[in-house]
Amino acid sequence: MTPLLKMEEYSQKVMDHFMNPRNVGVIEDADGIGEVGNPVCGDIMKMYLKIKDNVITEVKFQTFGCGAAVATSSMATELILGKTLEEALEISNKTVAEALNGLPPIKMHCSNLAEQAIKAAIDDYKKKNE
C-alpha cells in the first residue's frame, strides 16, 4: 500500500477535534441543512442549523471522511455557532484551516468542504424562507 500520510502532519488541534469532535449529530427540526461531497471521493459533510433572528443558535454535523474532514467539520461548527448568517458566510476554508493550526497540504480540500457545507446549509435556510 502507498505510504500513509504521516500522523505528525496533523496538528494537536486537528487530532483533538478528530478524537473529540464538537457538535456531532442531527437536528431533527433544522432550519437549514447542507450536504456536500460524495462517497466516491471518500468525503461527505452534512451540516444542520437552527437559526433565530438571523443568528445561528444551534449547529450539528455528520461526516464520512478522514481525520481532517472530521476535524474541519467540528471546527467549522464551533466557528459559526452564535454568528449572524453574514458573519458565517464570511468564514472561508482558510479560516477553518488556520483555526486548526493548519492542515497538511493534501488535506486542504477537506477545509473547502467545511466552507461549502456552511454555505449550503445557509442557502437551504434562505430558500425555505423566501
Binding site: 500500500m1 502507498t2 500522523m7 496533523y10 478528530f18 478524537m19 471518500g42 461526516t63 481525520g67
Partner: protein
C-alpha cells in the same frame, strides 16, 4: 502505551541475529569488495556467501542472483531491462491491474517509450485467470509480469501455471515476489520463473537491499552502468552490510516457513472470523483460503479508512488502509477497485498483516479496541444515519 504492530506487509524489524551478522561490515570490515587486498576480498566472499543463501532459498544458481537497492529497483530493472534489450523482437508486455506501483508506474513509463502494455483484470477474489493471459499473448509479446502475492489483499496467483504457459510460448516471465518470500516456498526452476524480485525488509532483513533473480540465458540490459559489480549488470559499490543481512534473513525465513505460516494462519483466521462476527456491515476483501498466511483485509461500510487508522494509532495499534486519504490521491486503492469494490467501500478498508512477534493477546486487544472505533465513526457518518433510517444509502 501499548505498541502493537500489525503492518508486516509494510515492513518488518531486523532480527537480532540478522543485525549481528551485519554490524562488522560498518566498522572493521569496511573494505571495498572490488579491492584486491584481503580487507576487500573478504567482503567479496561475504557477498558471495549471501548470494549462495539467496540462490539456495529460491533453488537458483548463485550466478543468477543480482543484488539491488530493493524490490522497487528489481521491478524497474526487470521490466525496463527486458523491454529495451528485446524491443527488436517485440514491444508488447502483459501484466495485471493489481500489481504494485513499482510495476504499474514502470509500465506507464514504458508506454511513453512506445511499448504496449496489456493489463489483465482479476476476478472479484483478486485472482488472475490463466486463460485471460493466454488470450492476451501476441507474436510480439516479450514479457509477462505477474505478482506472486498481492500486498494489499494477500491473494496468491497461479504462478507455476503462468510460468509454464510463458515457457511454452517462449516469453520471459517475471514475478514480483516481494510479499511472498518467507511466506510461500518458492522454487524458480519448478515454477518456470525467469525473473523474480524480492526485498530484504519484508522478511526481517534490512531496508535498502533487494534481489533480482535472472535466469541464466535471459537477455536483459544492465540497470546501472559503471563498474563491474554484479557481473557487470548492476554497477555500484555493494551494500555489503545490507547484502549480508539479506542473506541471513532469507536463510532464517525459508528455514522456518512451515512453523511461521502455521502461527500466522491461526491469527489470520481468528481475526477474520471474529471481526466479521463482531462488526456488522463488514466484508473480507480477497480470497478466503488462497491468501497470504498473515493477511487480513476487511472493509467496513459507511466509514473511511484513515479515520480508523488514526483511532487505532491512538490506542497503540499500527495498521494500514486502502482509502484515498492514505494514498495521497482522490482514488482509493487500485487493487480494491480492481476486485470490484465500490469506491465508498474501498475507502473503508483496513489491512492487518501479522508477523513474528504478534500473539493471541495482541489480537484480543485489537478485537476489543476495534468495534468501539467502528461504532464511534459510524455514529458520526451521514451514510450510516441514512442507511439506518431508510434501510439503504
Amino acid at each position: 502505551m501499548k505498541n502493537i504492530y500489525f503492518d508486516h506487509a509494510a515492513t518488518t524489524s531486523v532480527k537480532p541475529e540478522v543485525l549481528e551478522t551485519m554490524l562488522p561490515f560498518f566498522t572493521e570490515k569496511y573494505g571495498n569488495p572490488s579491492s584486491i587486498y584481503s580487507l576487500g576480498r573478504e567482503n567479496k566472499k561475504a557477498i558471495d556467501d549471501a548470494r549462495e543463501k539467496v540462490a539456495k532459498a529460491l533453488n537458483a544458481l548463485p550466478k543468477e542472483i543480482f543484488f539491488t537497492s530493493g524490490g522497487t529497483e528489481a521491478d524497474n530493472w526487470a521490466l525496463e531491462g527486458i523491454a529495451f534489450a528485446n524491443q527488436a523482437k517485440g514491444k508488447h508486455i502483459i501484466t495485471t491491474n493489481i500489481e504494485h506501483h513499482a510495476i504499474l508506474h514502470t509500465c506507464k513509463f514504458l508506454e511513453k517509450q512506445g511499448f504496449e502494455i496489456t493489463y489483465i483484470p482479476v476476478d472479484n477474489q483478486g485472482i488472475v485467470h490463466i486463460e485471460d493471459i493466454a488470450k492476451a499473448i501476441r507474436p510480439d509479446t516479450i514479457l509477462i509480469s505477474v505478482m506472486f502475492t498481492n500486498n494489499e489483499i494477500g491473494t496468491i496467483q497461479p504462478i507455476k501455471e503462468i510460468g509454464a504457459l510463458a515457457k511454452e510460448k517462449g516469453i520471459c516471465f517475471h514475478t514480483d515476489a516481494v510479499q511472498a518470500i518467507g511466506n510461500i516456498p518458492i522454487d524458480v526452476k519448478d515454477m518456470n520463473i525467469d525473473m523474480l524480485s524480492l526485498s530484504g525488509h519484508k522478511f526481517y532483513g534490512p531496508k535498502g537491499v533487494g534481489v533480482l533473480y535472472i535466469r541464466d540465458g535471459v537477455r536483459i540490459y544492465p540497470f546501472m552502468n559503471g563498474g563491474a559489480q554484479e557481473r557487470g549488470k548492476r554497477a555500484s559499490t555493494e551494500n555489503v552490510a545490507g547484502i549480508v543481512g539479506l542473506g541471513k534473513a532469507i536463510e532464517l525465513a525459508t528455514e522456518n516457513i512451515e512453523q511461521y505460516n502455521a502461527k500466522l494462519m491461526k491469527l489470520r483466521d481468528r481475526a477474520i472470523k471474529e471481526i466479521l462476527e463482531k462488526i456488522p456491515y463488514s466484508r473480507l476483501n480477497g480470497d478466503e483460503k488462497n491468501r497470504l498466511p498473515g493477511n487480513v483485509n476487511i472493509s467496513f461500510e459507511f466509514i473511511e479508512g484513515e479515520s480508523i487508522l488514526l483511532m487505532l494509532d491512538m490506542k497503540g495499534i499500527c495498521a494500514s488502509s486502502g482509502s484515498a486519504c492514505t494514498s495521497g490521491s482522490l482514488d482509493p486503492s487500485h487493487v480494491l477497485l480492481a476486485i470490484g469494490l465500490p469506491h465508498e467501500i474501498a475507502h473503508g478498508s483496513l489491512r492487518l498483516t501479522f508477523g513474528e512477534e504478534n500473539t493471541d493477546s495482541d489480537l484480543d486487544y485489537l478485537l476489543e479496541t476495534l468495534p468501539p472505533i467502528i461504532e464511534k465513526l459510524r455514529a458520526m457518518s451521514p451514510l450510516y444515519d441514512t442507511f439506518i433510517k431508510n434501510g439503504r444509502i
